[in-house]
Symmetry: C2
Subunit: 358 residues, 2 copies
């Protein structure tokens, strides 16, 4: 199966090889040194300040989103949440669940965040800002310069879910003054799902350390403390952490984050430039390199997903909920090539010819 | 490296093969049917009632321990916790963190739970009971008949951490009237770490569904709801779930849980019967088949761990904290054989001859 979803994505050869190996025991100096290198490379690729920290949680991206919310904010905060899709909605639900006062910048699916959306919230007593820089459900990529300057002006704690965006879009944690950046193993890191990671600025580390988190598993204090010696509080997904290590070293050897972002941008551009003749509308106003969200003008998106899976041996990514029949997504992350794009476009052309993609 | 730790343990050939494969997209009927079969087989091997449910969390065993505590108990409960080692201590910490009134049956490391330990707590207004049937830190295996009858008499919710014990020791969830049983992917399931699982009795499911859990990631309501269709609320460790599937089918084909428990018991017995001449004391009064905890009479347990790792190419399992120099453990779970026992015993004999194990 050729996999164009937004995760799990296809892995490279070395990552697959490690998957076949026995998982080693991990309370050892050997594994600690792997973890310390993972932290160092993730910080470098996020362009975090030297004094930042990175921790790895065994869990989905949501585990890290919740950990960030629970460890940084409480009922004394006032948080602004950008909600332009199902992952923005998840941040809203997390604020509700944890009784964190919040207001929502609700954006129609696939539309950009603009200065006028933020204007009403200037100097309005907020303390934090939550945003999915790549809103995975719509493929939207928000303007980090705009968000960054709003947060600096208003002295907000800036939490950025970059789960789908990390390594696919340019990101500069230190330049944006972001306090938290979240990523996941099964996105552009192109490893199996099971690990999410959080990079924290120095001041975010200090804030976490001064607070009580009412969840042992998601307590970043113990993750930070254990991470100082390259360990985790609980048994982590050791195999996936070794795969992440190999992948980070590969990215480093191939020219670092800039090369990886360029490669992904070129793959996305190649795909987007070759589907203009098809009755597919691109959804977002500003696109992440990681994914192209498409609205078939006269066909069910979910039916297209099913036919591509069952008859063409490839997965595109269906949407859930009310978008299930309206939108499907094509990922550009993982071990994909322009030849793979051609294979997918040939299948779409065939569906068009058959009158299914009409 | 030959791996005698208690997790991650060595995996069989098929599990390793799956580790090398690309991880498939999972929001599909194909993956749902795998998950429904996983649930069915786990329930069968736990000897749960037909109306029980099993859910799979992406996380360590602690994630499931915390989920069980958070989803079943609150400040209106009164819980009795057996604490005979570091995992009993973890249950105590979870009760403290979540403000659950509790009392602790504190047992010296490696000692059995006896009727007289429970006698003071009869008819004393308790609502729940937390125990690690296999206390992984000491290799102790508690008497489930004793615990079961105490809980029935006192009408307690019985939560059993069987993380190291599941598939290694006899367990009959329905016969014990247990409400929750917790297990993990990296123990006798012999898959990579990253998944823990919770089996819930019918009445535990009802209790979970009637309560609010203040953690989205550990909310068993959404896990149960999504599980009805063979799915999970968040992206799970898909690869490990496929490995668990293969392993459950293998156990089923080889005669089911009884055969697996017998195989492990024989391996443990073989090891234990052949080390009587060495200056090693077996720690627990009643041993789990999963592990043998050993106290070297005149040597540092941690030094033995390090020398076995660096000079003999094998891992035994070190203990942490104050037991680090006093106790090391030898696991009998995972893809181990009697020949592997011989290799380890030869190494121990050699250490003895060298005057290191003295």
């Amino acid at each position: 199966m050729l996999n164009f979803t937004i995760g799990p994505v296809m892995s490279g050869e070395r990552v697959c090889e490690i998957g076949a190996e026995q998982v080693p025991y991990f309370r050892t100096p050997e594994f600690s040194s792997v973890m310390l290198e993972n932290e160092r490379l993730v910080k470098r690729f996020a362009k975090a300040e030297e004094s930042a920290r990175a921790v790895f949680l065994t869990g989905s991206g949501t585990a890290s989103m919740e950990a960030a919310v629970m460890n940084l904010f409480d009922e004394n905060d006032r948080v602004l949440v950008v909600n332009g899709g199902s992952f923005g909605e998840r941040f809203v639900q997390l604020c509700e669940l944890h009784d964190i006062p919040h207001e929502v910048v609700a954006l129609p699916f696939g539309t950009s965040l603009k200065a006028e959306h933020l204007a009403p919230y200037e100097n309005a007593g907020f303390t934090g800002f939550l945003v999915n820089v790549g809103e995975t459900s719509s493929g939207m990529h928000y303007d980090m310069e705009l968000i960054s300057s709003f947060c600096r002006r208003n002295r907000l704690w800036l939490v950025v879910d970059a789960i789908s965006s990390f390594l696919a879009d340019e990101f500069d944690m230190a330049a944006y003054g972001a306090d938290v950046m979240i990523a996941g193993s099964q996105k552009a890191l192109a490893c199996p799902p099971g690990i999410s990671l959080i990079v924290l600025s120095e001041r975010a580390v200090q804030r976490v350390e001064s607070r009580r988190c009412k969840c042992m598993y998601l307590d970043l204090k113990s993750a930070l403390k254990n991470g100082e010696r390259g360990q985790t509080p609980f048994t982590p997904a050791v195999g996936i952490l070794l795969q992440i290590h190999a992948r980070l070293l590969e990215i480093e050897a191939a020219g670092g984050v800039e090369s990886e972002v360029s490669r992904t941008a070129a793959l996305a551009e190649d795909f987007r430039s070759r589907i203009g003749h098809l009755p597919l509308e691109m959804v977002p106003e500003s696109m992440s390199n990681a994914v192209t969200a498409l609205h078939p003008l006269n066909a069910s998106a979910y039916d297209l997903f099913t036919i591509l899976k069952d008859e063409y041996g490839m997965w595109v990514c269906p949407n859930g909920g009310e978008m299930a029949h309206k939108v499907f997504r094509v990922g550009h992350i993982g071990a994909l090539t322009k030849e793979d794009n051609t294979t997918l476009i040939n299948a779409l052309n065939d569906l068009h010819k058959r009158g299914i993609l009409k």
